[in-house]
Every structure is written in C-alpha cells, then in structure tokens.
Symmetry: C2
Subunit: 330 residues, 2 copies
C-alpha cells in the first residue's frame, strides 16, 4: 500500500515526482504520466489501504491476465504457432511421414497464408501434429529449447524479449501489494509454463490456459503423462471465467486483456461486488509494436472498445501510455 | 524443520518425549508413537533440512490429499450423496416434478439399496438432479446450510465433525514446514470448497476434484456461472495425476489416499526423482470408525495393500496409529 491517495490527484500531476517526494520508487516506470497509470495506482491504493472503505483482504486480491497481446506480442501470428511449425519441422526431419496433409506440408514450408485459409481446423491439425505423441516433460524440453533459440521474424528478437515491460512492472507492482497474479490465456498451459515463471514471475500453478488431452501411462514401470491428440478445453471467451471459477473457486478483482476473447473474463470480474478493475491493452502503436483492433485477424477488439468504457474499464493506449514496449533491449 | 534426525531413531522411542526434550510441541499429538508417525516426521525432517542431501526447496513441497476416507469418513456412503439426497428433497418440496425417475423417488424415500443397485448411472442421475440448474453461488449456499445443520445417520455428529483429527494435524504440520497442501478428490469441487478452508485450512484454489459442466450466462445484465447437467471431469484413478499436472504443472512429493482410486496418484507421486512419500489410510477400526478394505463397496483397497509396501508407501493402521479419530467431540 502506498500511503498517498492518488484517486484525488489530477491526472496531469507527475506521478514520478510524487513517488520521489514520498521517498518511494515509481512502481510503474515504463508507464507515462497519463490517466492510465494514475487509475491503476488509485485502484491498488484504495484496495490495499486498511482504513479504506474499499479495502480488500489479501486472500481476495486476485488478478488475472491474458497472455497473447496482453503480456507479450501476438503478431503477425500467435507465437505458439511459430513454435508448432518449428517443432513440426524438427519432427519431420526425423520422420517425414508426420507430414500427412497439405496443411502440414504448407506449414513446414512456411506458407502461413495457406494455414490461415484453413481456419481453425488447420490450426488444430498443426497443434495435434506438433503437440501430441510425447510426454509432457519431453514437450516442455522442446519448448524450453525453442524459447532459448528462436527469433521473431519481424523483430529478430527472442520471443521472450517481446514481453511487455510495462506489464511485467504491473505484475510485480500488484504482487508487491499482496495480489496473487494469474495468467488466463487461450495459449497452451504446457507451452506457457515453460517461460511464465522467468518472464513474468508467475509459477506453473498460476498459469491457466487451453489444454490438450493427456493420458496417464505406465511405460516400463515408469508412470508418465503423455500428450494425446485433441484439445480438452479451450480457454477463450466464456471459457475464461469458467476456467477461473473451476480452478480458483473465486472471482478476481482485477482482469487485464486485449481482445474480445477476454470480454467475458473482464465482464465477470468487474460485475462483482466491491472494487473491481478491468483493463484492455489497445494496440495503437504501429511504429514500436503493431496497430490493430476491430479488423485484427488476431486479437480482434470490438465489444471491448464499444462497451468497455461504460463498464468502467481502462483502455490502455500503448502509443501514449507506455514509454517503453518490450522487456528486450530493442 | 525440526533439528533432530528422526530417521535414525528406533521407532520404539517415544516421539512425544523427544519433542518435549527438544523444547518443541509434538506436531502430531493424535498419532501414537508407532512407526507411522516416525516415518512421517523423518521424511519431513530430511526434506526441510537445508544441509540434507534430500533437501527440497519450499516451492516444490507439494502435498496432495484425497478427501473421502482420507481426510473425513466415507461410510456408509459418500457424504456428498447424503447432501445430494437432502438437496433433492428440498427441491422436490418446492416442485415435486423434479422426481422424474424411480431412482430419484427411491433416493428421496431414503432407499439407498435401490440407489446402490442402480450403479454409477443412478448416482449420476441423482447428481444431475441435485447439482445442476442453479448458479454455483446458490449451490454453495445450499451446501453451506447443509453442512451447518445435517447429521450423520450412524454417529449423529455433524459431517464436518467427522474429519480426522490426525490428518488435520498432519496438514497443519506440513504447512508449518512450508508445504503447500492440496485436496485431490473424487468429490465435487463446488461441494468441498464450502468447508475445506475451515475444516482443513485449505483454500478454494487448492481444492481439486470432480466438476460438473458449468455455463457462463448473462441474466438481466448480470454475468453468472450456472451448473448444468453432466460431469465434465471425474477426478478419480488416472484422472488424479492428470488433474494435478494440469492444475499445478508439477509433481507432488507427498501423496495420501485410502483406496485404489488413489493408486495412480500415489504411483505417479512416488515415482518421481528425489525424496517422495506415499501413504494410505487403512480403515481398520470397526469400533471407533469403520473397518473395510478389499471388499469395500466404497473405498476398495486391493492394489494399495498388495503393491504399496514394496513401493515404500506407508500403510497407516487407523486402529493402532491414531489415538483419536474425529475432530468432533464424540
């Protein structure tokens, strides 16, 4: 809890100066001194102040974050798809017969247009071929190796360098104020858990997401969990609040996303009693990152822009509200 | 961490005397001074001792517990079935047309034999009729009211008084030694979460179990989660390690159960590298509790008795190893 009531400060006041005056380090140095930053701090301030009427006990300080487009970039396609294709190439090098269909052959040839034209079905075909038939452990070793070595086609940066610096600051700030931070993402749990702890400080048990089928098998006396074809649960749209309730048994008080896939999660979070915070990262920065919203082939954002402000949600303008984008050096 | 190496003490030594000598309170006062108690303490001692070769870092100190028959009693039928029938009676009082089938009519008439003869199908029919068609919140209010007021047919005790005192001590002891304790049960998450925090000190997000289907609905502008017919996931047998891996993303180092429904969970837990602990509660006390194992219509225990000891699992003999059974006064 920061002992200054930011709620009543004009948004034009320099927050950095205020923190410095109070002898405190600015908790969000990569956020510019705009209303976005002051609203976040005002919220945290009031729910952590024991004398505030809106005080929230630490065990209820649950904050949920989408991953793709919210904690790291998601363009030109979801990073997990790049991994899937690289993984498919590796598998095909060992055994070309894995490339059973035109979609899979297009994917390893790098023809993302053909993949996109195949829609969800094509995506699931690629996921099945690259994400099943091995133990969870073997799969995660492959992800670990990939994250360490692969580069993004547009920026040339490592994928984990394309996490958003302002969001990692926000995660840390919330945890410093006794929030428990969770990822709730359409991305795969076995994929995200490999880097979430190092990249975001979020341990495996706080990473919720989409998951494939898994089978328990005892192979040569050794019990293992094997990823098998098919998706058991898609953690998107209405699936997000369902998964949060199922896993945590409680409603968060803070939710952050960037697309209409996050709408239900923010809607459910902010409809609860007491103080709530909903926030959408709006991709407005074509120069430093990407600019897309209503027509995005990924991360489409319509309902959030239309209805979010009236629901009290903060719409973060990346271009204006963030002084720095990536955690990586570029 | 307790600074005494219990591993090398003869099991006949009085642990209570040892703790008293060391100026420490006995962490397991309702466990008699048998090998069971000394093995548990020796394990905790070695994984929490920083100079031990078998030291385990706190973030990996994950302990999982079955609920029915492990943390509380499960005879003559699962307590959740008593709740389901009471709930069905309440619903039928308001609207008799909910009793659509012979099984449901038998259930509210208290004819458990007819229910048992109907097998799993009958059970699911009763669960659907009593556990769906309401919000999660409304369902949990009903459970809360029931736990407060209902009495067990054999003992006349409240159901939450029939939790096992030695096991609540074990849970607390493990947490005091920086373990994170989880329930992983065939019981329903929405049912167990109502009392797990008070009864066991286990918060909702650490309660894993079977779950029904849930739908996200917006009713009169208010988003709610509604329990709908059908079981989405059965958290039993191989489902237990699958659910643990999916939810926690890591393998526990300590697992406790009481039936072959827990076999895979213990098998997976204890097959990991490094120090592991598997434990089965063997119901041997017909006088103070119930005595059943290989032929139990509930909590059947065959594989665990046949294979457990060779796998290094502790078989707890309730009659011998526990000086007290229930947390309740009786």
């Amino acid at each position: 809890m920061i002992g200054v009531d930011f709620k009543h400060l004009a948004s034009a006041t320099s927050i950095a100066v205020l923190f410095a005056t109070a002898g405190l380090a600015d908790p969000l140095p990569s956020w510019t001194d705009t209303e976005a930053k002051s609203r976040i701090i005002a919220f945290v301030d009031k729910v952590t102040d024991p004398v505030s009427a809106q005080y929230v006990t630490p065990s209820d300080r649950v904050a949920v974050f989408d991953n793709d487009g919210t904690l790291w970039a998601e363009q030109p396609v979801y990073f997990q798809l790049y991994f899937a294709i690289d993984q498919l190439r590796k598998l095909a090098d060992e055994d070309p017969s894995v490339l059973k269909t035109d979609i899979l052959r297009s994917a390893v040839a790098g023809d993302l247009k053909a993949v996109a034209q195949g829609g969800t079905e094509a995506l699931f075909e690629i996921l099945d071929a690259s994400h099943s038939g091995m133990t969870v452990q073997a799969f995660q070793s492959a992800v670990r190796e990939w994250v360490k070595t692969a580069d993004h086609p547009d920026t040339g940066m490592g994928y984990d360098d394309m996490t958003y610096q302002p969001m990692t600051e926000l995660l840390r700030y919330l945890r410093d104020e006794d929030f428990k931070t969770y990822i709730v993402s359409g991305g795969g749990i076995h994929f995200m858990r490999v880097f979430a702890e190092e990249a975001y400080g979020i341990p495996p048990e706080q990473v919720l997401g989409t998951y494939t089928n898994v089978e328990y098998q005892v192979i040569e006396g050794k019990p293992v969990l094997v990823k098998t074809p098919g998706i058991a649960f898609v953690d998107d749209k209405e699936g997000k609040p369902i998964n949060i309730e199922r896993t945590l048994g409680k409603r968060p008080i803070f939710a952050a996303g960037n697309s209409d896939g996050d709408f239900a999660m923010l809607e459910w979070t902010t409809a609860g009693d007491g103080p709530r915070f909903g926030m959408l990262v709006h991709h407005t920065d074509a120069q430093r990152e990407y600019a897309y919203d209503r027509d995005g082939h990924i991360g489409r954002l319509n309902d959030g822009l239309d209805l979010g402000p009236d629901l009290g949600w903060l719409i973060v303008d990346m271009a204006k509200d963030w002084s720095r984008i990536y955690t990586g050096a570029k």
